[in-house]
């Protein structure tokens, strides 16, 4: 590269000649940098010239034909008092300088050179000759540096002025940080006092809008498995924005576009909001961006923030502040929702505890005795407690009523119905030897309440008369009563007809009477027993229950021991599998 200084009146210039190779470009611009520094040109202006000159020289080299590439390229730099002028002579075929230069789409890798030249320089002329063209680029020198130049102030004063400018820029950035932080702290403190997350978001974003000179914002959050974006807070609540479905694709909404592309989408006069976009009706000609917010891989929401066209786009510092606020807000909301869920789940477990207490109180503290027979009951609650219970009511020395019931429903309501049923059954002692009639009566009394909450109860009543050696059973849709007839293991299942309580207002139940043979055993149970599953998902089943009863009738075990034996059998069967329903049974053994 050859260098030549040409003295020009009041202007000082530099001529450089370089071979038509890209590697020549940087040394040439560095050379120009040194030259302009010597002339006291401020750094900012040098940078602009350096970049514009590099772009111009790159083009002159890249578009040179093989023949033109053998020729040298001449570059002139003229430093005047009020302007800098750069000239690049190329040997290409030349091109039509575009009337309007726009930035290519963001992900296009080329096509920014002319845009940069145009942006960095005040005037650009492309003079076309035959086989040789000249690009003339001029940039006015700032009044600031001009003043210094014209007044011949000392180098040290110039440096001080430059440092001051740097300090001003830093101060501006620091004040951004300070304002952001104090807004975040202020809103965080408020969050502790409010349950209204929408209000919290609106206040934080109003602060953000102030800090970034924005005019409006819309903050959406996802719902239903990240498929919908619903407005959570906006600067103008009078503008009603519809929820956006992400499943339909985001063709009409810049917010959905950003959420689906997982990156910021900016809009301005070159890429305006489409007319069908819900945001377009907020303020026409807005300039801004949509920032999709992610926590890990999952989409939390989007923040759109914008100003009017005249005020220019957000700067990089402002964009960073917007990102910080959006991410902070999302974390706060997700945390707060998580806390709500914790409270709710604590309430649910408290409710279950209450229900369990009610259920336990329904079981007889001591089981009445019936001469010649032993009685034992078992009731194990599942985690999601239901309304199982059993009861034994002594009618006289020779007669008792055995009750087992299963309220279909969970939690406190189920436990309450169990309590009501228990009281109703105990209320009319004179009906206890007629189980079917007693079931009809409680069904009439409970029907309206049960059907009002879509619940029903299965129940089984067994009247046992030890002196007559007979039993009379009635069932409201309950599982069969098992009666072990003898020591050979013959078992009979009794299923007297009847619908569960709460299905029909007027329904009849039938009594089934059986003789009590010697050494008989009676087993009343709820379907939690037969529907118990083992680890491989297999049911305990009625067959297994009958087999157990058959086997146990061959021994002469008392009721209490039979109860422990069946409970152990159930536990062994279920092993690691957790209890999915209450398991209740009542055994009577002679």
């Amino acid at each position: 590269m050859a260098v030549q200084s040409i003295p020009v009146s009041r202007n000082i210039s530099l001529r450089m000649v370089l071979a038509c190779e890209l590697v020549e470009v940087r040394p040439m611009t560095v050379m120009m940098r040194g030259f302009l520094q010597e002339q006291g040109v401020p750094e900012e202006e040098i940078q602009a010239c350096e970049l514009a000159l590099a772009e111009a020289a790159n083009n002159a080299i890249k578009y040179a034909s093989a023949e033109a590439a053998r020729k040298e390229i001449q570059v002139d730099v003229v430093c005047g008092l009020d302007q800098l002028e750069l000239r690049v002579n190329d040997n290409t075929a030349g091109f039509e300088w575009p009337r309007q230069i726009e930035l290519p789409v963001v992900d296009q890798e080329t096509g920014r050179g002319l845009f940069l030249i145009q942006s960095l320089m005040d005037r650009v002329n492309y003079l076309r000759g035959s086989g040789q063209n000249c690009l003339v680029m001029k940039r006015k020198r700032s009044a600031f540096s001009h003043k210094i130049e014209s007044e011949f102030q000392s180098e040290s004063e110039r440096r001080i002025a430059e440092s001051e400018k740097v300090v001003r820029d830093m101060a501006e950035e620091l004040s951004f940080c300070y304002e952001s932080l104090s807004a975040i702290f202020r809103c965080s403190a408020d969050l502790g006092k409010t349950n209204d997350l929408g209000d919290f978001a609106r206040r934080l974003l109003t602060d953000l809008a102030q800090i970034t000179s924005a005019e409006w914002f819309v903050f959406r959050m996802t719902s239903s498995a990240e498929q919908r974006l619903e407005v959570f807070a906006s600067s103008d609540s009078s503008v009603l924005l519809p929820a956006l479905s992400l499943a339909e694709g985001g063709a009409k909404s810049v917010e959905a576009d950003a959420a689906l592309a997982r990156e910021d989408v900016w809009f301005d006069h070159l890429n305006p909001l489409k007319s069908g976009d819900p945001l377009a009706k907020i303020r026409p000609g807005s300039v801004g961006l949509v920032h999709p917010i992610f926590l890990g891989d999952s989409l939390i929401g989007t923040l759109t923030i914008a100003k009017t066209a005249g005020s220019g786009a957000f700067t990089a510092v402002q964009a960073n502040v917007i990102h910080t606020f959006a991410d902070f807000l999302a974390i706060q909301i997700v945390n707060s929702r998580y806390t709500d869920e914790l409270v709710r789940s604590r309430l649910v477990s408290r409710e279950l505890e209450i229900a369990k207490t009610i259920q336990r109180s329904l079981l007889p503290k001591t089981i009445p005795r019936l001469s010649g027979y032993g009685l034992a009951g078992f009731c194990e609650s599942a985690h999601q407690v239901g309304g199982d219970f059993y009861d034994v009511i002594k009618i006289n020395d020779d007669a008792i009523l055995l009750i087992i019931a299963d309220v279909m429903g969970k939690g406190i309501p189920a436990a309450m119905f169990a309590a009501i049923l228990r009281s109703l059954l105990r209320a009319v002692p004179e009906w206890m030897n007629q189980p079917a009639a007693l079931l009809g009566r409680v069904n009439r009394l409970l029907f309206e309440e049960l059907s009002g909450v879509d619940m029903f109860i299965t129940a089984q009543l067994v009247y046992v008369d030890s002196r007559a050696r007979s039993l009379t059973a009635a069932s409201a849709g309950h599982c069969p009563l098992l009666l072990a007839l003898d020591e050979e293991g013959n078992v009979k299942a009794l299923s007297p007809e009847g619908l569960p309580l709460g299905i029909l207002p007027e329904t009849t139940f039938s009594n089934q009477t059986e003789v009590l043979p010697k050494n008989c055993r009676i087993l009343l149970y709820t379907d939690g027993l037969t529907e118990a599953r083992n680890v491989s998902g297999e049911f305990f089943g009625q067959d297994r229950l009958v087999r157990w009863l058959r086997k146990s009738s061959q021994s002469k075990q008392p009721a209490e021991q039979l109860k422990d034996d069946l409970a152990a059998e159930l536990i062994a069967f279920q092993s690691a599998a957790s209890l999915s329903d209450d398991q209740t049974f009542l055994i009577m053994a002679e």
């Binding site: 890209l22 590697v23 470009v25 940087r26 611009t29 940078q47 350096e50 970049l51 590099a54 772009e55 790159n58 080299i61 890249k62 930035l103 963001v106 992900d107 296009q108 890798e109 080329t110 096509g111 920014r112 050179g113 845009f115 940069l116 942006s119 960095l120 997982r262 990156e263 910021d264 900016w266 961006l289 786009a313 700067t315 990089a316 964009a319 960073n320």
Partner: protein
Amino acid sequence: MKVQAQGETLNVSGIKELGAANSQVFRDQVKGAMNELHKNIEIDLSETMFVDSCGLGALISLHKTTCNRNGTVRLLNPTPPVQQILELTRMHRIFEIVNN
């Protein structure tokens, strides 16, 4: 130039300039250093005194590569001239620019 892998991220540093003369080599070197683990690229621009439109092209090309892997390109501490060209060409809209 130094390229170091750290988990899912490739850290690139020590770039003096990124212009027409070296942007193709830069792009090829970084892509060459990526293996299937790398989702993100962090480029330290604190020593980079000059970037031109060809340099930007190389950064955009890397951005596309990371996008295909659901990752990002982060530009760390760009010097003032580099920050200026990023803003002028609105590149701060697609790159995450981190100053600390």
